[in-house]
Amino acid sequence: MRAAIIAVSLLLLVGIGVFFVGGASPAIIVAPEKVFHWPVIGGVTNTMFTSWFVVIFLVVLAFSVGRRLSLVPSGFSGAVEAAVEAFYNIVVQVAGEKNGRRFFPLAATIFFFILTSNYFGLLPINNVIGLTEVNPGFADKHVAMSQSEIPIVGLNVAYIPTTPDSVDLAAGEKAYIEYNGEREYKTPKDDHSNTAPVKEASHSHEGETITGFNGLIAPYFRSVMTDVNAPLAIAIFSFLFVEFWGLQTLGVSYLSKFFSFGKLLKGDILGGIIDVFVGLLEFVSELSRMVSFTFRLFGNIFAGEVLLLMMTFLVPFVLVDVFYALELFVGLIQAFVFAMLTLVFAVTAVSHHGDEAH
């Protein structure tokens, strides 16, 4: 009986969500939007802004937990310590005691930074509050919006009207947004909009009924890893540390993996050419790791964000929670995969090359 009531009310919630609470139609823009213009730094994108919060969060966590560590674990620091210890045990299992100790700081930083970023990206402040601008795709319409300014933090919070009045523009008229009755004309490409250039005003949208929000929100918060630069930066660090450790452990002989002219100089032409080719392949694969690292993480998290936006748009209640759970899982797995692959690459880099044994 109780199960039936729960099921019915859940279905009712889904129905209410679908039919009465239309979410904002998501506009999928890959590049992070610039939301602030600060002196010296210049344009600040939303992913940068969010990543600072993540960094500050982790730094504060490190300070507060690091100082409270004790032999008898207790409270929050004990929990953090347990998580770190679990990760450390995995690292030691993969890389062994000595190498594990050497690789652990990088692997752990990668894991916990990506994990925190991904989970931060699931907070409901993401992709909701932001600057509004006219959608270039609807440049031939104008959108009446109500916007109120919230003095705290000085952020403009745009409330998305569920039934915006959209009016077809007369030919040659500029697109504008009407805020509380005041018209603000938008040039198609604002200096702070990072969006694609507006096409020539066409009349392709004429006659369509537009439901939902016809402007764009450039959110102040956006999941960090949906910005390609973030995974790329981590991948660069991962790559550099792996090469560094390889050189540190094996010395110059590490480079023989890439430049193996030994057989060629000895006169074995066929084997030598093959070796050189293999070295070249090794070199390329080493570089391509960076690319695969970057796009694996970026792709997963960006796709997750798009999925969440779409599901919020389609089924605002109940069902979307399933996808939030899925994204929790994906965020963890991607963080783990990035850290573990770095670890594995590091282990292969410091282990002796097969040819040396011959």
């Binding site: 590049a31 960094v55 982790l58 630069n229 790329l232 660069i236 550099l240 560094f244």
Partner: protein
């Protein structure tokens, strides 16, 4: 404690330098796509959002995290883990030692108790024997003493009897003589006769005489 701290410092300095070196290389590497983008305005890359300020910002972020977490979180946590592991190992070893010690002690105690019991048993046997012997001796002695006393008493009785008999004999002789004298000296009839004997007997004062 102090030496440990001193040893640590150069390590962290070296670590810091290493991070710095790696970071420098990272930034140098970041310059490559910048130039590519700047030179050719690669449509795809900039559409994806790869741009130099963003990349540099993320590199800086990651570097800060790497250094700060290494110094303030990973380092201390690993130290605590090591210390805890060491303590636990120590404790386990000590517990094992204590257990084996206890076992040995118990064994020892058992041995001692067994020994004591055997000794006590022997002692008991010995004392029982001694007691029996003593009793026998005492009994013997007592019997002897009793015999002696009886013997002495008999002797005394015999002597006394002899004495009395002797005394009686001598007194009786006197009395007889005395009575005879009287009888002879007077002619006497039967009644006088009896009177005479009574007189003699009264005069003799048989019992008291001896005591006087």
């Amino acid at each position: 404690m102090k030496s440990e701290k001193n040893r640590e410092r150069p390590n962290s300095v070296v670590g810091f330098c290493r991070y710095f070196l790696v970071a420098l290389t990272a930034f140098a590497l970041a310059a490559v796509p910048t130039m590519v983008v700047a030179a050719e305005e690669v449509e795809g890359i900039s559409k994806l959002g790869i741009n130099i300020p963003g990349l540099i910002a993320q590199l800086v972020n990651f570097l800060i995290l790497l250094v700060v977490l290494k110094i303030f979180l990973w380092g201390p946590i690993l130290k605590v883990l090591d210390e805890r592991k060491r303590r636990i190992e120590e404790g386990l070893n000590r517990a094992e030692q204590a257990a084996s010690d206890a076992l040995a002690t118990e064994e020892e105690a058992k041995k001692v108790i067994e020994q004591a019991r055997a000794e006590a048993r022997a002692q008991n046997l010995r004392s029982q024997e001694a007691a029996a012997k003593l009793r026998e001796e005492l009994e013997e002695k007592a019997r002897q003493e009793a015999n002696q006393i009886i013997e002495r008493a008999r002797e005394e009785i015999r002597l006394e009897k002899e004495q009395v008999v002797q005394q009686l004999q001598s007194q009786f002789a006197d009395l007889t003589i005395h009575a005879a004298e009287r009888v002879i000296s007077q002619s006497i009839d039967k009644s006088a006769h009896q009177r005479l004997i009574d007189e003699v007997l009264t005069e003799s004062n048989f019992g008291q005489d001896k005591e006087n």
